[in-house]
């Protein structure tokens, strides 16, 4: 059974106090906490078999290599990738997207071509494309967002058209919370012969994602948002697409043979992993995947719908709070960005004094904030270990803060 109270016992940090109060960690969309199993995997690695991978004949090198490659298999299984050849370890979602931008996109975009993202992208799924399209003489187009915070798909067939070569879409917005219909967009992209990429930074950690069913060409996500350490992330790509791509970073491990004047490339997926990989954190990611699989991704999603509903309802009942994005928990990931009369920063500081960690600012989604006429919002984001009690604490904290700042007449 899925019991956040039990799950919490696996996360040492959750018993810490902040400013004298028990930590209420609601900044999971920024980064997640780590269960002791993951921490222990790191300790084990460094205390028992730490060694460079792929290159050695000695026992520890083999042990490290085996565990590293086993982690790759676990990741492949999690996202239902047909083989490990398409699972490339990178640092984070941002690097994964840049890899595609600097290889596939640079190779395939030309003057007059178009590429499509949405208006709700994280900077990491926008800024890399600004450069590639500009350099190629291609046009970057946007799937528009309705005032309710969902994609306006009435223009799907015009925005994605025969000139479109690549479509890249955030699966769950880290600001609006919106879950985008990636299957439908993928179908349209493939219909016009375009490749389809998904920014899964907020989806892979929180719900079942099946690349085979979705048929996406690329999927990017970060380990640190799914109980693993920072410093490890994944680019999944169809091996057939990878085969046509020039390598990105070059150097040790990704080569087959090297002469002074040229080099040949190693097999997939190593071809896209240059230099000593972050094998320790990759192995820890494998353990995080084990942990999530044991919970069951369906259950994780279900928990977030429940806690999300509870939060949306409680926050919605507060007159002073305006929630951004879709109003129904089923249509969104487990997070809620909102505004009040008090500046988010001041709110954040007040709540922090009560041990409640929320995020404030633009959450790396400035253009969508601008479009909504907002400079900053406050955001609470949830994970498997968050409880309804914590939602109550948040709401109590918010009320206290609004009263405090109200008494100070802080509404400018």
């Amino acid at each position: 059974m899925f019991d956040p109270k039990l799950i919490r016992k696996d996360f040492p940090i959750l018993s810490r106090k902040v400013n004298g109060s028990p930590l209420v960690y609601l900044d999971n969309a920024a980064t997640s906490q780590k269960p002791r199993q993951v921490i222990q995997a790191l300790v084990e690695c460094y205390e028992q078999y730490n060694s460079n991978v792929h290159r050695g004949v000695h026992t520890m090198s083999m042990e490290a290599t085996d565990r590293y490659e086993a982690a790759r298999q676990k990741v492949a299984d999690l996202i239902h990738a047909p083989s490990v050849e398409g699972v490339i370890f990178v640092r984070n979602t941002t690097e994964a997207i840049n890899l595609v931008a600097n290889t596939w996109a640079t190779q395939n975009l030309g003057p007059g071509d178009e590429m499509v993202v949405t208006e709700m992208e994280h900077h990491s799924n926008l800024v890399p494309w600004q450069k590639v399209t500009a350099q190629a003489g291609a046009t970057l187009r946007f799937l528009p967002v309705t005032p309710e915070g969902t994609l306006d798909l009435t223009s799907l067939d015009t925005v994605i058209n025969e000139r479109t070569k690549l479509v890249s879409v955030v699966h769950i917005s880290n600001f609006l919370g919106t879950i985008n219909p990636v299957n439908e967009i993928c179908r349209r992209a493939h219909q016009v012969g375009a490749r389809f990429m998904v920014d899964g930074a907020q989806s892979v950690p929180h719900m079942p994602v099946d690349v085979t069913d979705m048929d996406c060409d690329f999927l990017a996500f970060s380990g640190h948002k799914m109980m693993a350490p920072p410093g490890i992330g994944v680019l999944y790509a169809k091996p057939s697409v990878l085969e046509g791509m020039e390598p990105f970073l070059r150097g040790g491990d990704m080569v087959r043979e090297v002469w002074y004047d040229h080099a040949t490339w190693n097999d997939l997926p190593m071809r896209f992993e240059a230099g000593t990989p972050n094998f320790a954190d990759a192995i820890a990611l494998g353990v995080a995947v084990d942990y999530l699989q044991a919970l069951g991704m369906d259950n994780v999603r279900q928990h977030e719908i429940e806690i999300g509903s509870y939060a949306l309802q409680a926050l919605g009942e507060m007159e002073e709070v305006t929630i951004v994005g879709p109003t129904e928990a089923r249509l969104r990931g487990g997070l809620a960005a909102f505004t009040t009369d008090v500046h988010p920063h001041d709110l954040g500081t007040f709540l922090d004094q009560e041990g409640i960690a929320i995020r404030t600012g633009h959450h790396c989604v400035m253009p969508m904030h601008n479009k909504l006429g907002l400079a900053a919002t406050a955001r609470a984001s949830f994970y498997v270990y968050n409880t309804n009690d914590e939602m109550d604490t948040l709401v109590r904290g918010l009320k206290k803060a609004l009263a405090y700042f109200g008494s100070h007449a802080l509404k400018p």
């Binding site: 004094q353 600012g361 400079a375 009263a403």
Partner: protein, 164 residues
């Protein structure tokens, strides 16, 4: 209803949001940009989106004859900007640099003399921000803009001098 300051540092939050600060936030002084300013610059915090645009004019003697700012952001960043504009009036640029130095020193924990404090006027209430290190950046936003404006101005003056 009497609001208790939240736990942790005794009275912490009240040290931060002192009445004078809130007053400046609610009714910022010099809250409009000047036309044809000699000094102009924008401060922006990319991690939170807070912004301060600062302008000032100089008289024939090289003293600040007028200041103005606009911006958006938290109480700390906007109040700090407002208080800053309050102390600049009539100063030479060297005196302005002195104020900047004293303010930054205070934010870094230096204990100021009574005389130094006097010159900072309302700004002394920002000493409370020190307990909230993550907010120091907010308090310094307008000051970074001011320093950029000073640097820009010196640069353009130097250029003018070498070209004449």
């Amino acid at each position: 209803m009497a609001i208790q300051p939240p736990g942790g540092t005794a009275g912490g939050i009240n040290d931060l949001y002192q009445d004078i600060l809130v007053e400046h936030y609610k009714r910022p002084r010099h809250h409009q940009l000047l036309p044809d300013p000699e000094l102009k610059s924008e401060g922006f915090n990319p991690f939170c989106g807070d912004r301060v645009v600062f302008t000032a004019r100089l008289d024939g003697a090289g003293r600040i004859s007028g200041v103005g700012f606009t911006g958006q952001g938290c109480a700390i960043s906007q109040a700090s900007a407002s208080m800053m504009t309050d102390v600049l009036q009539g100063l030479t640029l060297d005196e302005v640099r002195g104020v900047v130095g004293r303010f930054r020193a205070m934010m870094q924990g230096k204990v100021l003399s009574e005389q130094e404090k006097e010159a900072l006027k309302d700004l002394v209430v920002l000493e409370g921000v020190k307990q909230f290190p993550v907010r120091i950046k907010c308090a310094l936003l307008a000051w970074s803009a001011l320093q950029d404006a000073l640097a820009e101005y010196s640069k353009s003056r130097n250029k003018l001098e070498t070209s004449t």
